[in-house]
């Protein structure tokens, strides 16, 4: 590849990554429930993305493309383990940092409740609420039926609502439209 083409490729990659790094990291962090692992997964994902950047025809699809790479890298990372079982009372410092107090009780309670959700419930919630994915997009991304997505989202919210209710914390409607 000549110097000019290489420069343009790097510029394109850096532009995409700079814009999307935040969502990639948060997605990786909520998948792995460990900021340290999330950083490793994102780094590995960026390297893979760089290698196959030419397969991304439309930069508007970069978010979905990169999130798919992050999902695969996370799966590779946990290939031989069962990340579902995390004892919230025995978290590593890195894991604990993820649910550290923010000073807002409702947010803290919810963050801990989300942290404890099973992967099957947590991931579609992250994709819908944080990434703005539609039900169809979540289904495609996770390789499940749209009906299954809605069921998981429904159950996830009920679990979170139950956790908040049990904590006695009241969520103030800030922008309930």
């Amino acid at each position: 590849m000549n110097t000019s083409a290489d420069f343009e490729r790097r510029q394109r990659f850096e532009r995409l990554v700079t814009a999307l790094h935040g969502v990639l990291y948060r997605y990786a962090a909520w998948l792995s429930r460990d900021p340290g692992i999330a950083e490793v997964v994102v780094q590995e994902s960026l390297l893979r993305a760089w290698k196959s950047l030419d397969s991304l025809r439309d930069d508007d699809a970069a978010k979905q493309w990169l999130l798919t790479i992050v999902r695969r890298e996370n799966a590779r990372y946990f290939e031989k383990k069962s990340p579902n079982m995390i004892d919230i009372d025995e978290l590593s410092p890195s894991q604990s940092a993820m649910i550290a107090d923010t000073g807002e009780r409702d947010v803290d309670e919810l963050r801990e409740a989300i942290y404890e959700l099973d992967d099957d419930y947590r991931e579609p919630l992250v994709l819908q609420v944080l990434m703005g994915y539609s039900t169809r997009e979540i289904a495609d991304h996770m390789g499940i039926r749209p009906g299954a997505v809605l069921t998981r989202l429904h159950r996830a919210r009920l679990k979170l609502k139950a956790a908040i209710d049990a904590s006695g914390v009241r969520i103030a409607a800030r922008d309930s439209g």
Partner: protein
């Protein structure tokens, strides 16, 4: 749509973009209130999910021709045959003694190109500080197999708990960068099949204490963060020297 169906649907998609949703909530005060409650919950969920994001660390991006071959760097232009089989035990022990002595006394200056390699390794350590975490989570075999391409190099998988494996570019070559958990902290291993050095060279910098060891027609960098790790680094270096093979 009845209330039960509405509540199930709204909990799946609080935006209410589902058939019959708006019609139902406009005529049902309880469900309308339930919708408001879920939207407030969602707003709070969004803030709970928005954890702090660390500064972007752009990985070292290999030149694209090299990148195409990261997994199969063995397919790079052939070098003279340099397959190394395990070295005799006495050689390993001698190397260990030499390494430890070198680490504590400092070593001779290398040639200019070797010094360039040393600078790149130390700069790379600064760049990838997050790789050196104390953790008990191993990398997957698949990741390890991808990073340590068997067509290029092989190493004893029992070297220790490998918790990080990444293909990195150092001195223009894409090489395996591993981290193994030592008794006194993480130890970085960088396998450099293309970098021949004449003798062991100490590596020293901020939080960098280690050695670049000659292994056949290549070399390996073994690096800790603290001076107290030098003894263990010597031992790991010895074991790696004995077991690593270049298959190119």
């Amino acid at each position: 749509m009845n209330c039960e169906e509405y509540r199930e649907a709204i909990a799946g998609d609080p935006t209410e973009f589902f058939p019959g949703g708006a019609e139902h909530s406009s005529g049902c005060e309880e469900c309308s209130s339930y919708r408001q409650e879920l939207r407030a919950l969602d707003e709070c969920i969004a803030r709970a999910l928005a954890i702090d994001v660390p500064a972007l660390r752009m990985p070292e991006l290999p030149a694209i021709d090299a990148a195409d071959n990261v997994v199969g760097i063995g397919s790079a232009p052939a070098r003279p045959s340099s397959r190394i089989t395990s070295l005799p035990v006495w050689a390993g022990l001698a190397a260990a003694v030499a390494v430890v002595a070198l680490l504590f006394t400092g070593g001779p200056d290398g040639a200019t190109d070797t010094q360039q390699l040393v600078r790149e390794i130390i700069a790379h350590m600064d760049h990838e500080q997050s790789s050196r975490q104390v953790t008990s989570v191993p990398v997957s075999d698949r990741t390890l197999d991808t990073v340590v391409d068997p067509e290029v190099s092989a190493m004893d998988p029992d070297i220790g708990l490998i918790t990080y494996a990444m293909s990195c570019v150092i001195n223009g070559h894409t090489v395996p960068h591993l981290v193994v958990q030592g008794e006194q902290g993480p130890i970085t291993l960088i396998l450099l099949p293309d970098e021949e050095v004449g003798e062991a060279i100490p590596l020293s910098g901020d939080n960098v204490h280690g050695v670049l060891l000659p292994v056949g027609s290549g070399s390996i960098a073994v690096i800790g963060q603290r001076e107290e790790q030098l003894g263990e680094i010597g031992e790991v270096g010895r074991r790696l020297s004995e077991t690593v093979e270049w298959n190119i």
